[in-house]
C-alpha cells in the first residue's frame, strides 16, 4: 500500500462543487505533480463537510489545518508554503468570526519549536509513579534487549559509537568509562548514579528524576549489565524530596515486577538498586567524594588514579554516571548509535538539557540538539530578557565551575569544545542569564562565596585561596579595592587551579577569571572610581535624577522608603543624597529612564569619587 505523508480532504459536496472544487482539484493535482509531491500527498474528495458557506473547503491531515475559500490562484502559494515548506498558509486558514485570539501550535511557539526531546521524552506525558505508563512509551524494551539479546561488548560498542558524553559536566565518553570498568576483574562491581545536582541555577536532573524515574533505572540496569555489576546506588541529595519519593516508588514497583532483583525480565541477570541520600555537600557531586559519602565517611575527594573504574565504591570497580546521561541509554540501545548521532555535532552528538534561569522571560527546562547557537537558546527559546527595557549582559554557564559569556560570543554553537574556548564550561547545563543591571564583580563574588563555603578543606589552595580571593572581592565591592588587586586575583586563580586536587578547586576561580577577562573595566571602575555602574554595590554608587528626562510623575517619590525624593507634580524631582540609602527602588520604578547611577559620594563631595 502506498504511504502518504499527508492527506488533503477536499470537499466535493454540492455546495463546494458549486463554488469550484473541480477546478481547485485539477490545479492542486497539477501543482503537487510539478513540485514532485504527488507521491507524498494524496488528494481525497470527500462528501459535504458542512461548512458550505466558506467553500471550497479542505482539511489537511495529519496537521488538522482547515482551509477555506480556495481558489485556483491560491493553489501555487498554498502548495509552496504548506506542503513544500511546512508552514500552514495563514491567508486561507479558518478564522472564527467571534474569536480574535487563536491558540498557537507547538511549532509556532519558539520555546517549543527548537526543542527535541530525548532525555525529556516522557516529560509531562506520563505519570511518573505508574510503571505501566512508562512501559507504554517503550519502557524497559531496551533493558530487555540488553539482558536477553545482546552481549556486554555489544552494549559497550553501541554506547561508544554513539559518542555519548557524560552530562555531569566534564563530558567524558560514557562508553569508554564502561569499557574500563568492564575490563576490571573483581568479585563485586557497582553501577552508580549521580543525582547530587548542586550548581546554583541547575535543575535538569531533578526534573528527570521527578518526571521519569524509570528512565534512570533502565539506564542503570543496562549499564550494570555492560560492566558486570550486580549492585547499584542512586545518590540523590536530600533537598530533592520529591525526586527521592518518586525514585523510591519506581524502585519498589520494579522489584514487585521483576525488573530489579534476581532474573530480571526472565534473564539470568541480577541487579539490586537502592537510594542513598546525600546531606547536601556540594563536593559530594565529585565522584570520589560521592563514593566516600556512600561508604559513610566524610565526603572528600581522593587522588586519581586509581580511577573508580578500578577502585571505586568500597574499593571495587565502579561506574558513576549522571542522571541525564543514564536517561539517554535506553533510546540509544533501542535505536542504535547512528540514530543518536543524527543530532548534534561530530564531537558532541545528541541533545543537551539546559535549565534556563535568571533575567530571562521563559524560565524553564529545555532540550536542544548540540551545536545550536547560544543566541537561539536565549532569544528564541528563552524569549529574551524578562524586562524588555533591559539589555542582555552575559550568560553564566556551568555554575560555580563555569564562567560568563558575553553578547559578542552568543553566536557560538553550544558544544563541549566551543563553550570551553570562551572560558566557561558546558557544565551540567545551568544557564543563568543576566541583564544590564547585573554587577559582574558581585556575580563573581556570589559564586566564589558558594565555592568557599563548599570547599571540603582538604587542599590548602582551595580552602585558603578561595577565602583570600573572596575577601579581596568583598573589599572591591565595598570600596576598599586597591591598584593591583586584579592581577593578584588572576595570580591566585592560576595557583588554585594548578594545585587543587579535585574539580571543585580546579574550577572555583573560573567565574572570577572570566569576569575579569570580559568585564575588566567594571573591576577597574569599582577600584579606581568607586563606581558600580550597575548600581548593585550600594557603597559604590549614588542615584541622581536627570532633570531633562524626569516627567515629574511622582512614582519614585511614592516608592522611596527614605522620603529622600522631593518635587512638585510635573516638575523634575530631586534626590537628597544625605538621605539616600541606595536601595534602587526609584531606579527600578522609573518608567522614563531618568534615574542615573553615579559613583559613590564621599564626605559631602558630590559627584566626585575620593581616590585612595
Amino acid at each position: 500500500m502506498d504511504k502518504y505523508r499527508a492527506n488533503l480532504l477536499l470537499c466535493a459536496g454540492t455546495g463546494c462543487v458549486a463554488s469550484g472544487t473541480a477546478k481547485v482539484k485539477t490545479a492542486l493535482a497539477q501543482e503537487l505533480k510539478d513540485k514532485g509531491l504527488a507521491d507524498e500527498i494524496k488528494i481525497v474528495l470527500t462528501g459535504c463537510n458542512g461548512f458550505c458557506a466558506e467553500g471550497p473547503v479542505m482539511l489537511v491531515y495529519p496537521d488538522e489545518i482547515f482551509y477555506q475559500r480556495l481558489t485556483v490562484e491560491d493553489v501555487p502559494k498554498l502548495v509552496e508554503e504548506h506542503f513544500l515548506k511546512g508552514r500552514p498558509y495563514q491567508k486561507l486558514m479558518f478564522k472564527e468570526p467571534e474569536q480574535k485570539l487563536a491558540i498557537p501550535l507547538m511549532k509556532d511557539i519558539p520555546f517549543f519549536k527548537h526543542q527535541v526531546l530525548r532525555v525529556l521524552r516522557n516529560k509531562g506525558l506520563i505519570d511518573p509513579e505508574n510503571l505501566d505508563e512508562y512501559i507504554a512509551r517503550d519502557g524497559y524494551v531496551a533493558a530487555s534487549k540488553a539482558l536477553n539479546e545482546i552481549t556486554m561488548e555489544e552494549i559497550i560498542k553501541t554506547v561508544k559509537d554513539s559518542g555519548l558524553r557524560g552530562r555531569g559536566g566534564a563530558g567524558f565518553p560514557t562508553g569508554l568509562k564502561w569499557e574500563f570498568a568492564s575490563k576490571s576483574k573483581a568479585d563485586q562491581k557497582y553501577m552508580l548514579c549521580n543525582g547530587d545536582e548542586g550548581d546554583p541555577g541547575a535543575f535538569m536532573d531533578r526534573a528527570v528524576m521527578e518526571a521519569d524515574p524509570h528512565s534512570v533505572i533502565e539506564g542503570m540496569i543496562i549499564g550494570a549489565k555492560a560492566i558486570g555489576a550486580s549492585k547499584g546506588v542512586i545518590y540523590v541529595r536530600a533537598e530533592y524530596p520529591l525526586a527521592v519519593k518518586r525514585l523510591q516508588i519506581a524502585i519498589d514497583t520494579c522489584y514487585e515486577n521483576g525488573l530489579l532483583g534476581k532474573n530480571i525480565l526472565g534473564s539470568d541477570f541480577t541487579f539490586d538498586l537502592e537510594i542513598y541520600q546525600g546531606a547536601g555537600a556540594f563536593v559530594c557531586g565529585e565522584e570520589t567524594a560521592l563514593m566516600r559519602s556512600i561508604e559513610g565517611k566524610r565526603g572528600m575527594p581522593r587522588p586519581r588514579p586509581p580511577f573508580p573504574a578500578h577502585k571505586g565504591l568500597w574499593d571495587k570497580p565502579s561506574v558513576l554516571n549522571n542522571v541525564e546521561t543514564l536517561a539517554q541509554i535506553a533510546p540509544i540501545i533501542l535505536n542504535g548509535a547512528e540514530w543518536y548521532r543524527a543530532l548534534g555535532t561530530e564531537k558532541s552528538p545528541g541533545t543537551k538539557v539546559f535549565a534556563l534561569t535568571g533575567n530571562i522571560k521563559n524560565v524553564g527546562l529545555v532540550e536542544v540538539p548540540m551545536g545550536i547557537p547560544l543566541r537561539t537558546i536565549i532569544y528564541d527559546i528563552g524569549g529574551g530578557m524578562k524586562n524588555k527595557r533591559k539589555k542582555f549582559k552575559a550568560v553564566q554557564m556551568g555554575g560555580p565551575s563555569g564562567g560568563c559569556i558575553t553578547e559578542s560570543l552568543l553566536d557560538i554553537p553550544v558544544t563541549y569544545e566551543d563553550v570551553v574556548m570562551t572560558g566557561a564550561i558546558m557544565g551540567s547545563g545551568g544557564m543563568v542569564v543576566m541583564d544590564q543591571d547585573t554587577c559582574m564583580v558581585s556575580t563573581a563574588k556570589f559564586f566564589l562565596d558558594f565555592t568557599t563555603d563548599e570547599s571540603c578543606g582538604k587542599c590548602s589552595p582551595c580552602r585558603i585561596g578561595t577565602k583570600v580571593m573572596l575577601d579581596m572581592l568583598t573589599d572591591i565591592t565595598e570600596g576598599r579595592g586597591k591598584e593591583g588587586d586584579i592581577e593578584t586575583l588572576q595570580d591566585l586563580s592560576r595557583d588554585i587551579i594548578a594545585t587543587s586536587l579535585c574539580g571543585l578547586g580546579q574550577t572555583a576561580p573560573n567565574p572570577v577569571l572570566t569576569t575579569i577577562k570580559y568585564f575588566r573595566d567594571e573591576y577597574e571602575s569599582h577600584i579606581k572610581d568607586h563606581w558600580c555602574k550597575a548600581g548593585i554595590c550600594s557603597k559604590l554608587c549614588s542615584f541622581h535624577i536627570d532633570e531633562k528626562l524626569c516627567k515629574g510623575c511622582g512614582a519614585c517619590l511614592r516608592i522611596c522608603p527614605q522620603k529622600a525624593i522631593t518635587g512638585e507634580k510635573k516638575q523634575p524631582h530631586r534626590i537628597a543624597q544625605e538621605l539616600c540609602i541606595q536601595c534602587r527602588s526609584c531606579y527600578d520604578t522609573c518608567k522614563f529612564n531618568s534615574i542615573k547611577i553615579g559613583p559613590a559620594i564621599h564626605a559631602g563631595k558630590p559627584e566626585a569619587a575620593v581616590k585612595n
Binding site: 488538522e64 521524552r121 509531562g124 512501559i135 531533578r206 530533592y240 515486577n257 524553564g364 527546562l365
Partner: protein
Amino acid sequence: MARLTITDLKKIKEKQHATFTLREGGYRAKVTVHMGTCGIAAGARNIMTALMDEISKANVEDVIITTSGCAGLCAREPMVTIEILNKPPVKYGDVTEEKIREIFKEHIIGGSPVEKYALVIGSETTY
C-alpha cells in the same frame, strides 16, 4: 504481582495504548496536571483539588485526571494539559483555581478550548 517478561511488556504497552489514545479506553478527555517541584510550588495541588471538586460536582465519568512531571516551561506553572478525544492536546499556563473551574466548564465539558488562558496546542518533537 507477577514478574514481568518480554511478552508482558508488549501486552502492557497495548493495554496502556488505550488510555493514551483515549478512544479505546472509553474516555473522552484526559487532564494532566504537571506536578514537578516547580508546579507544586506554584500551586498545582490547589488546581488538582479544584479539578476534583468540579468533576465530582458535575458527576462526569468519562474524564480521567492524571499527574505528570515538569512540562519544561517552569515560568508559566502551574500548567495543565487537556486532551479531548480526537483533538490535539492543549496546554494551559499560569492556571489558577478560578481559571481551572472555567476551563473545566468550557473546554472539558463544553469541548472548546479557553483561548485566553491557553498557551499552546500540540506536542513537542521527540526522537
